[in-house]
């Protein structure tokens, strides 16, 4: 076979392989940008897609980035050329930063049905689920500390956490430590850093490492044990209740100003707070629904997973204002 034949052949293979990635120019399409794990086979993506497509008679297409923070960068990179109608998967801490891009527009969604513990007032960003950060451990192997202070000060455990610059749980822990330690957060991080096996880019890597036994505890959610109970019948994983309270995460979605298909986008945001969508969330995204969604699965019962009494939170404006200082403080402390 001559060189040119070989080359033509490989080119043909390439074009064939790329064809599916290129063929999606359609009018009746709703494009939703979200993070990777939302769209995976076991995540909410496939069920949400099926349910919404049946309702709208349209084609819902997911575009997934690695993580929530990456979503925002991608939108800024694409600017007004973006084909996204909806961005789904930012959290309340990122709202101010997202608003600064001026890429989003107010929604017309009816928020009265929402039943969040601390209420909700933002009209651009619509919540779709919430939860509390917590350290998850294997109760057959580890005795967990009972407070964040005890984790920092004296507990003899190894932990895996996520980078606050790249992951929303990572940012959550940064703010959790900030709300407990205030100005002493830097010193707290210095102490904590001795217990950190590794800091990963995203939640899923960290959780995978924990399950492989690379560390005693992992930063995740109070609802994570429910996954193991429901999906695997495994009861040894628990989240450690901390006496200071747990930092809250509310995941949100919003419509883009330049959405190619604004009507479908409105329809989707309404669908998002409906029973249908909300009932998919608990057993796929393993978070709590933001609106009444019928009966919760058994593993979500009050005696099965921990529901924190104190819900910690720092306002989105404060986060946006101080974010880079706090991240620098963290960087300084953990790279000693």
């Amino acid at each position: 076979m001559s060189l040119s034949q070989t080359f033509k052949k490989s080119l043909a293979v390439a074009v064939l392989a790329l064809a599916p990635a290129l063929a999606n120019a359609n009018d009746n399409v709703l494009t939703v940008y979200t993070y990777d794990s939302f769209t995976s086979d076991w995540g909410p993506g496939p069920q949400v897609e099926k349910a919404f497509e049946a309702e709208c008679g349209c084609d819902l297409q997911w575009v997934a980035t690695e993580d929530a923070v990456g979503l925002l960068s991608r939108l800024r990179l694409e600017g007004s050329n973006s084909k996204a109608d909806i961005v789904l998967g930012l959290d309340q801490n990122l709202i101010s930063r997202a608003k600064n891009t001026e890429l989003f527009i107010e929604s017309a969604t009816d928020l009265s049905k929402l039943s969040l513990p601390n209420g909700w007032s933002d009209t651009t960003f619509v919540p779709f689920d919430y939860g509390h950060f917590a350290f998850v451990y294997d109760s057959s192997k580890t005795t967990p500390p009972t407070s964040l202070k005890s984790l920092v000060e004296d507990a003899d455990v190894s932990i895996v956490i996520q980078d606050p610059r790249t992951s929303s749980p990572g940012l959550g822990l940064l703010l959790w430590v900030k709300s407990v330690y205030g100005d002493q957060a830097g010193e707290a991080w210095e102490k904590l850093s001795k217990k950190i096996v590794t800091t990963t880019k995203g939640w899923s890597e960290a959780y995978g490492m924990f399950l492989e036994g690379e560390a005693d505890m992992v930063l995740s959610y109070t609802t994570s044990p429910a996954y193991h109970m429901e999906a695997e019948g495994e009861f040894k994983y628990k989240s450690a209740p901390f006496s200071e309270g747990h930092y809250e995460q509310i995941e949100v979605a919003a419509k883009l100003k330049n959405a190619p298909n604004p009507a479908l986008a409105d329809q989707f945001l309404n669908f998002m707070v409906s029973d249908k969508f909300q009932s998919i969330i608990p057993t796929t995204n393993w978070m709590l629904p933001v609106a009444a969604a019928g009966e919760l699965p058994a593993a979500f019962a009050k005696d099965k997973i921990h529901y924190p009494e104190t819900s910690l939170s720092i306002s989105s404006e404060d986060v946006a204002k101080n974010n880079s200082d706090w991240v620098d403080e963290w960087l300084e402390a953990v790279s000693q």
Binding site: L11, V13, R76, N81
Partner: protein, 540 residues
């Protein structure tokens, strides 16, 4: 100033050279120009003054220097050992070393974690022996382990090929003069190694300096951050173009200066990846008699085998042990496999097209400055941050099409560029050597242009071209940098698939996909090398 060799002149080869250099400079220039335009304000000084960046810079240099030093420290005695001794399994080990070079990073990382991680075999053994340990992998140690894993095999093969090139006459003289082992090393081997060491050290240093996936997975957090990781963070998360441009410039400048210094030390490096098999004949008489050298050789061999074999075995064993038929029925896996093949074959072809065009023109050039200018551009592509390149190009192209449409082409283009330095390392010396032999004939018979390439060059050079194509393609199939930036649900390659499977704690499936990736990679290598290179031994 003479540009061409005596018997060469401006012709179609030169036009090809100019076009391909033009393409390269346009791509690299456009990317950085548009990235720079995006920056809101420039505070180069501020960026460089930041304590964090200083620390990142120091760490980047430190880990790269250590990795280079350690890789060479292992490689020199090993190369000598392989040169002097024949033992069962030598060929297999050397072949495996060749494959280490193209082993997808994500597979190696998976294997290294399975062996060395906090729940890996070694920690398990230590604990069963009663040694309490919290594990040792994450941090500088893990980074060095992975860098030595990738670079020692490369260095051994490259140094061995230099030793094999030592002319028989020198050995005859050495025997006649009754050299001691130390004299043999200093007077015969060292000059041969010295011509290779600076170029080799520069290559390994650059590879470690720009390391990305290894640092992210095994570095253990912000303490271990390289400039490349900082560029990725600036672009992907902070959207800080000014910072990304500054850091990319810094990375480029440091690597350019260092490689310039290193290459000045020795003569121009020739080829790091040998396509010739050395002659052995009379050397059997020279088997190294010193038991010290022998012991040292065996110990290095044992150590390196313990380092490079178990991770791959572990990945394969886990994949086979936990195999489930339903892994095969997943369309996502098949899809990722096909896209991987398409991307890597296109990137490999594009890379070879560029490399061959450059080499065809370059062989006529006698002027040293022009030659080293072209060679430097070729080599320095290695230290252009692929993320900065991709983002810059995306900004230009986003006015014409969406990310989904451009993504695949950018992935192909950047991968082709990133494998170009490797292709050039194989092709430049090969083209040069054949040129000296065939030029008089071609001049006297008036053969030129396409006819010359088809009838003369390709038939003589198909072996190195095949090898270069095999390397360029398999390096692209293992890429896990650019694809992380442009991948989506429908556009995923095998490395990205593995990464996602690890991420969603489907580790058995990840091992299985890793097995598929290794098999694809190695089969592709062999097929391409044979298909283009012709049957074994045809041209050598």
């Amino acid at each position: 100033m003479r540009i061409f060799y005596n018997n060469s002149k401006f012709g179609s080869d030169t036009i090809l050279l100019l076009i391909s250099i033009g393409i390269l400079i346009t791509i690299l220039g456009t990317a950085f120009f548009h990235l720079a335009l995006q920056a809101e304000s420039y505070n180069f000084f501020d960026v460089l003054q930041s304590r964090y960046i200083k620390r990142v810079l120091v760490f980047t240099l430190w880990q790269a220097a250590l990795s280079t030093g350690l890789s060479l420290l292992f490689a020199i005695p090993l190369a000598r050992f392989f040169y002097y001794h024949n033992f069962p399994g030598k060929r297999i080990i050397l072949t495996y070393f060749g494959l280490c070079l193209v082993m997808p990073v994500i597979v190696a990382i998976l294997g290294i974690i399975q062996v060395h991680g906090n729940s890996g075999y070694i920690v398990w053994m230590m604990r069963s022996l009663g040694i309490e340990t919290k594990g040792y992998l994450y941090g500088l140690f893990g980074i060095l382990l992975a860098h030595v894993f990738f670079n020692t095999p490369l260095a051994v093969r490259s140094l061995l090929s230099r030793l094999n090139d030592i002319p028989q006459e020198q050995w005859r003289s050495a025997i006649q003069l009754n050299f001691t082992p130390w004299q043999r090393f200093r007077l015969v081997e060292l000059p041969a190694l010295r011509s290779a060491l600076p170029g080799l050290a520069a290559l390994i240093f650059m590879l470690c300096f720009t390391s990305f996936a290894i640092i992210l997975s095994l570095g253990g957090g912000p303490k271990a951050t390289t400039l490349e990781v900082a560029i990725y963070q600036a672009l992907h998360f902070d959207f800080d173009m000014a910072r990304a441009v500054t850091l990319s410039g810094l990375q480029l400048a440091i690597c350019a200066i260092l490689s310039f210094i290193l290459v000045r030390f020795g003569k121009q490096s020739e080829t790091e990846i040998s396509y010739q098999t050395g002659q052995e004949s009379i050397l059997k008489f020279l088997q190294n008699k010193s038991w010290m050298a022998r012991l040292f050789g065996w110990v290095s061999l044992a150590l390196i085998l313990l380092l490079v074999f178990p991770p791959l075995f572990s990945v394969i064993a886990k994949a086979l042990y936990h195999f489930e038929w339903n892994y095969l029925s997943k369309p996502a896996l098949l899809n990722a496999g096909l896209i991987s093949l398409g991307i890597s074959l296109s990137a490999g072809s594009l890379s070879i097209l560029l490399a061959v065009s450059l080499c065809l023109g370059l062989r006529h050039i006698q002027n040293r400055s022009i030659r080293s200018f072209v060679e430097t551009i070729g080599a320095l592509i290695l230290v252009f941050s692929p993320f900065a390149l991709a983002t810059g190009l995306f900004i230009v192209l986003s006015n014409y099409a969406s990310l989904d449409q451009i993504g695949p082409f950018l992935v192909i283009l950047i991968n082709a560029l990133m494998s170009l330095p490797f292709a050039l390392r194989i092709l430049i010396p090969a083209f040069q050597q054949r040129f000296q032999e065939t030029q008089p004939l071609c001049i006297s018979m008036g053969i030129q242009g396409w006819t010359r390439f088809r009838m003369i060059d390709f038939s003589l050079l198909r072996k190195p071209i095949g090898l270069a194509m095999a390397y360029a393609t398999t390096l692209s199939i293992g890429d896990f940098g650019i694809i992380a930036l442009f991948g989506s649900q429908d556009f995923s390659t095998l490395p990205l698939y593995i990464y996602r499977a690890i991420g969603s704690y489907r580790l058995h499936e990840a091992s299985f996909a890793a097995l598929i990736l290794i098999l694809t990679c190695y089969l592709l290598f062999i097929i391409l090398e044979r298909l283009i290179g012709g049957p074994k031994g045809q041209t050598q």
